[in-house]
Amino acid sequence: MVAQAPAVNRARRLRLALATVSLLAPVLTSVLAPGAAAAQATELGRQTLGRPYWHVFIAYALAWLLIGWWVVSIARRLTRVERRLDSE
């Protein structure tokens, strides 16, 4: 047990060093390469729905609005004509 202590301590130190590096990596990157970090931040900031998504939604919405309007207009015209036919 006592003989394994240095190996355990080494492994613990290694894990601690890796954790520190991974936590400090973004900070180090921004200090050592400010341009790259800024570009990455801007790229992440741009991740919204974007124009192509809106064009897809608008295309589908307009298509169904037009088709819906046509169906409703037929129903209204048909009801009006049949009401007149019934009253004749």
């Binding site: 897809v56 589908y60 298509a63 037009l66 169906v71 129903a75 048909l78 004749e88």
Partner: protein, 243 residues
């Protein structure tokens, strides 16, 4: 000609058979449309080059297919109408033309929205786009001639000729991307020169779209035909009363 169908004590011009067939077909069409939307937004893969905007394809292609089908039905009915002079054929042509106009509008709008992302412009005077716009105007003329002619019979004959001439534009639209230099994408399904290079999931989604639009169109067109029948019955009754 009285086109009324006896139904109980009231005379209704639209037969209950046509009405129920239209209701069932329209409901089936709506169910297919719901399935199509699920496939488009949650199931099908995103195209590698164009990205998300390629999904407009699943509404644009079926809309244009239904428009061509509608104008084809209108041209065929009009040709037989000129031969037999059966008013039911003219009514079918009117109903189909109205549907064709609407679906061409849907096709033009959805195509423009796709074009803005793919080409950077909503409209380009490309052969296929120009011929499709011409088709829309030809059938607009179909309705204008009917509305402007004082003699209804003459209006029906003239508009029947327009429906036949207008349909000649459909094969031209199809081959325009092959014959002329065009920005519009080449056909991916109906191209006989090379094997189809569409992903199987995308092909299935497209096929469901084509089926959904066709079924919905056939259902709604039944109601539109019924409307035309009712209108003519009303006109005949009013004419009789005035006489």
């Amino acid at each position: 000609m009285e086109i009324a169908v006896e139904r109980g004590r009231k005379r209704r011009p639209v037969g209950s058979g046509i009405r129920w067939t239209s209701v069932v077909t329209t409901l089936f069409g709506i169910a297919l449309i719901v399935l199509l939307h699920w496939m488009v937004f949650f199931w099908v893969n995103t195209e590698a080059t164009m990205g998300i905007v390629q999904r407009i394809f699943y509404v644009h292609v079926p809309a244009m297919w239904v428009a061509f089908l509608a104008f084809g039905i209108a041209a065929l009915s009009s040709a037989v109408y000129l031969w037999l002079r059966d008013e039911r054929l003219d009514m079918a042509a009117v109903a189909a033309c109205e549907g064709g106009m609407l679906f061409t509008t849907v096709g033009l709008i959805t195509g423009s929205l796709w074009g803005k992302i793919a080409w950077g412009t909503y409209w380009e005077w490309d052969p296929r786009l120009t011929l499709t716009l011409l088709l829309w105007f030809i059938y607009l003329g179909y309705f204008m001639v009917r509305a402007a002619t004082e003699n209804p019979e003459r209006g029906r004959r003239l508009s029947a000729v327009i429906a036949i001439v207008g349909a000649l534009d459909i094969p031209l639209i199809h081959v325009s991307v092959l014959w002329f230099r065009s920005l519009h994408p080449q056909p991916v399904v109906l191209d006989t020169r090379q094997p189809m290079n569409l992903d199987s999931d995308m092909l299935l989604t497209l096929m469901i779209g084509l089926l959904a639009f066709t079924v919905l169109f056939l259902g709604v067109i039944g109601f539109r035909y019924g409307l035309e029948r009712s209108r003519r019955t009303l006109d005949i009754r009013l004419a009789r009363r005035t006489a």
